[in-house]
């Protein structure tokens, strides 16, 4: 019952969250309307559900509670802080599973009916989307404990822009410093580019898949651990009235 309520809360905490899912489904549907659209559906799922969805679904997941003071009531309940963090991570993960199942069903059914677009490596794209989503979600949740309100969204968008900018600027004339910086960001940030390359390759080796899954798993574990420790050690002071 406790777990169910905490899972349910991740879906109902903001009134617009169910609408976000519907908007993404509408995008899949609308892309079938134009004739002969050369869309690779796996790639679209990767961008929509792996990259954008976690940023929106975890926006202010702890930060809103901290800003409103609601966290002060939650942490006085007989709950372990790690339990609170893990149930919320599980809640947003369950949302992704539901979203991916519905999204994949829409794509596969419409593809079967209209035969538009491509379904190359679709299962691999789904796997990579899932890893990316969970890594981004755990990082976003951890950031959300440190920054109040929904500003974790901005922090992650800034990280993505920074990674892209450094990659582009350092591209023609890579230096040791820029290479090192990109390598560090790639290893601590959700592995967007690596997963993209993996799902894009024609015949990925099982070893490569395992390494990427392991990499994602380590990052999820690390962010979860950091988030739990931060949540446990953080004080929730209130301004004197």
């Amino acid at each position: 019952m406790k777990g169910f309520e905490l899972l349910k809360e991740t879906f109902l905490r903001k009134s617009y969250l169910p609408v976000i899912h519907l908007i993404v489904f509408a995008i899949y549907l609308l892309l079938y309307v134009p004739a002969n659209l050369p869309v690779e559906w796996g790639r679209l799922l990767f961008v929509c559900s792996g990259l954008l969805l976690p940023l929106v679904l975890t926006q202010g997941i702890f930060g809103d509670d901290i800003a409103s003071g609601r966290i002060r009531v939650l942490v006085t309940k007989p709950l372990q802080t790690g339990e609170l963090y893990l149930w919320r991570l599980l809640g947003v993960s369950v949302q992704w599973i539901g979203h991916a199942l519905c999204g994949a069903t829409i794509i596969l059914v419409l593809h079967a009916v209209t035969n538009k677009g491509k379904l190359d490596n679709f299962a691999l794209w789904c796997l990579c989307s899932g890893i990316l989503y969970a890594t981004f979600a755990s990082l976003s949740m951890t950031v959300s404990i440190c920054v109040t309100g929904g500003r974790n969204f901005m922090v992650l968008v800034f990280g993505i822009v920074l990674l892209g900018t450094i990659s582009v600027l350092a591209g023609p004339h890579p230096t040791y410093a820029s290479d090192s910086l990109v390598a560090i960001i790639k290893h601590v940030f959700p592995p967007v580019q690596l997963l993209f390359q993996l799902a894009n390759s024609k015949t990925p080796l099982p070893g490569h898949i395992a390494v990427r899954v392991l990499h994602g798993g380590i990052l999820i574990g690390a962010y979860t651990l950091i988030g739990t420790v931060l949540l446990h050690t953080r004080e929730f002071a209130h301004r004197e009235s």
Binding site: V73, V75, L79, H238, S241
Partner: protein
């Protein structure tokens, strides 16, 4: 577990100090001292009022007792355990000053949510929510989303959230905020009943008149320190002696001021502060013997609010 027959106090606070350090104060190697060597204990079934001016450290103290804030030094025990422990949290019901609820949840849903966080099953959570809604007079709005509730209803709901799971210690931060007069009376009756049932209540409030009706035990904080009002202000002149004077009477105001330092003299009234009622007859007799025409004599004991204002004006020096 806070057993009814347990001998230890429900709250035991020993030499608690709290210094807040921000990045600015860390750089300057100092912080903001919110509490300074505070010690007290609260026994089972008592209602203790926490009073003090803004910035006195009330919310910090409540935060430490609720396990939200760590003291810089000293220790706090709730039912014999650390306030941050799960055992202590099982015994604790906390109501913040500004409650906030998820907007999509109804009043009943919010109570069920908190009941399930306390480990209750579905049926048990439903029963608990229904009982609390009835007790707090919220049954009519049980299915109304929290955003559509009035401030007073939200305040009562927040009290309901604190009461979920029948905790033995209630920490309430400004519980009467936004309540109408009937709501305030009902809140007082409810808290009195809860204390009679053996619950311990630590309540912070700026409504001193209301607090005075609820309890006679206070922790008076001023600049992070506890002021013992029983042995400071109350031991001094807390009774106002008002002597009505005949307007035509010739009064030597200067002489009276010398005789009763701090007295107030108007055309028809002399107000003197005395320590006890026993001092009244000799004063009246002496004034009458001096030929001052007295029309009336009344006494009034200072209210908690009067004491509060006096302590604050005196800067908390006791």
């Amino acid at each position: 577990m806070c057993h009814p027959n347990a001998t230890h106090p429900v709250i035991e606070c020993s030499q608690i100090s709290k210094v807040y350090r921000t990045s600015y104060t860390v750089l300057r190697k100092r912080g903001v001292r919110a509490l300074h060597n505070l010690s007290f204990s609260v026994s089972r079934g008592n209602i203790v009022g926490l009073i003090g001016p803004n910035g006195a450290g009330k919310s910090t103290l409540l935060g430490i007792a609720a396990g939200l804030i760590r003291p810089t030094s000293g220790h706090m025990r709730v039912c014999g355990h650390s306030p941050r422990s799960i055992v202590a949290k099982r015994e604790l019901g906390y109501m913040p000053e500004s409650p906030h609820f998820l907007s999509l949840y109804s009043a009943s849903g919010i109570l069920r949510y908190h009941a399930s966080l306390r480990g209750m099953g579905r049926r048990e959570a439903y029963d608990e929510a229904a009982e609390l809604l009835g007790e707090l007079d919220l049954t009519d709005v049980a299915d109304r989303p929290s955003y559509a509730m009035s401030h007073g209803m939200r305040q009562r709901l927040a009290l309901g959230v604190a009461l979920v799971g029948n905790p033995s210690l209630l920490i309430l931060d400004e519980p009467s905020n936004g309540l109408d007069p009937v709501g305030i009376v009902r809140l007082r009756q409810l808290l009195t009943k809860l204390a009679e049932d053996g619950k311990t209540i630590l309540v912070s409030s700026h409504r001193l008149g209301e607090l005075e009706k609820l309890t006679s035990q206070y922790i008076f904080l001023h600049r992070g320190r506890r002021i013992d009002i029983q042995h400071s202000v109350l031991a001094r002149e807390t009774i106002q002696l008002r002597i009505g004077l005949l307007r035509q009477a010739s009064i030597n105001a200067h002489a009276l001021s010398d005789r009763f330092p701090g007295c107030r003299i108007t055309d028809d009234e002399l107000t003197i502060r005395v320590k006890c009622v026993g001092e009244v007859p000799p004063i009246v007799r002496a004034l009458a013997n001096e030929g001052i025409a007295i029309t009336s004599v009344t006494t009034a004991v200072d209210s908690l609010e009067d004491v509060f204002v006096r302590v604050c004006e005196e800067g908390g020096d006791s």
